[in-house]
């Protein structure tokens, strides 16, 4: 349900597979979500936690801390579930919760160090690759809500411009412009992070 799309092998075939539909698909039952349906939340925890985990690195130092933080994220998501009204990316909404909970856990200062235990596997081959991926994730989380949603829906969930516009209830031109603005913003944020 919360799984990012694999490499493109046929968009039409994948859309028929319910396991591959993004969470933003119309089949997502918002009423069940707002009602706090436990079966739905169990599935969300299972499907989304692997995607959330890489974002927790910057706020934690140990595996135990990461597990505690992940639980705090889901508890807050459950308590605040009615603030997600369905117009956007659920994963983007979860990322705002990660940032809120993570910042509270880490205090006022963001932790930039990545411990050996939690090091991104990419950095085992190229140390800079892991830092770049962390910087990119942080940059996307720092985007304004609409820009972040468009980036997630278009780049990761693989929604078309038309599908994204329908979900966000805006014009297709707005989606294109927002994606353009988001890309420029990411370049700026990345330059700041690298420098």
């Amino acid at each position: 349900m919360c799984r990012a799309r694999p490499a493109d092998t046929g968009i039409a075939a994948r859309r028929d597979d319910p396991r591959e539909r993004p969470l933003s698909d119309d089949a997502f039952d918002l009423d069940r979500f707002h009602a706090g349906d436990e079966a739905l939340f169990t599935r969300l925890v299972r499907d989304c936690s692997p995607r959330l985990r890489p974002y927790l690195h910057r706020y934690t130092r140990t595996e135990a801390d990461m597990q505690d933080l992940l639980q705090d994220v889901w508890l807050r998501a459950y308590r605040k579930r009615r603030t997600f009204v369905g117009r956007g990316s659920l994963f983007g909404w979860l990322l705002t919760i990660v940032r809120t909970v993570g910042m509270a856990a880490a205090g006022q200062h963001e932790r930039d160090a990545v411990t050996e235990e939690l090091r991104d596997t990419a950095s085992a081959v190229d140390p800079d690759a892991g830092l770049l991926r962390d910087a990119l994730r942080a940059a996307v989380v720092a985007l304004p809500d609409r820009q972040r949603d468009v980036v997630l829906l278009r780049l990761v969930d693989g929604l078309s411009t038309a599908e994204t516009a329908r979900l966000l209830q805006c014009a297709e031109g707005t989606v294109k412009a927002t994606l353009h603005q988001a890309t420029r913003k990411l370049q700026e944020l990345l330059k700041e992070a690298v420098s």
Binding site: V45, S49, Q67, L70, Q71, L75, R79, L136, L155
Partner: protein, 135 residues
Amino acid sequence: MRGCPDTDAAVAIGAALGWDVANGLHHLQTCTVCRARMDLLQRTRSALAATAAVDDATLARISAALHAEADRERARQQAGALWVSTLEAVLAGVAAPVVLITSGMPIPGAAALLLTSGLGAALLLAGRRLRLHAA
């Protein structure tokens, strides 16, 4: 290289380039601005789509915590509903004699007033509890 993109992908590429495929692909490969943008988008997608395994014990612990939170929420809602129904019963108990008095009917004795109030409140409270249990 993976192999030939399928027809669906080819159509998507062609449409995205306005069917000026040769010039469009050449531009994407030679323009430094476009190459940098494609590189950024590809790296961003890779970073965002990355996953890291979470062990079953952690997932189970989180689900149990959510279940406990759901139980607490239900308990709070039921306690809240009980307060509301109690308040309604008190108001009903007060409203009954007020209606009788303002209707111009002979003012009943104090005992009758108390009986009317108590009966009205009890009936309302009992009715609410039955509905709560039924729900």
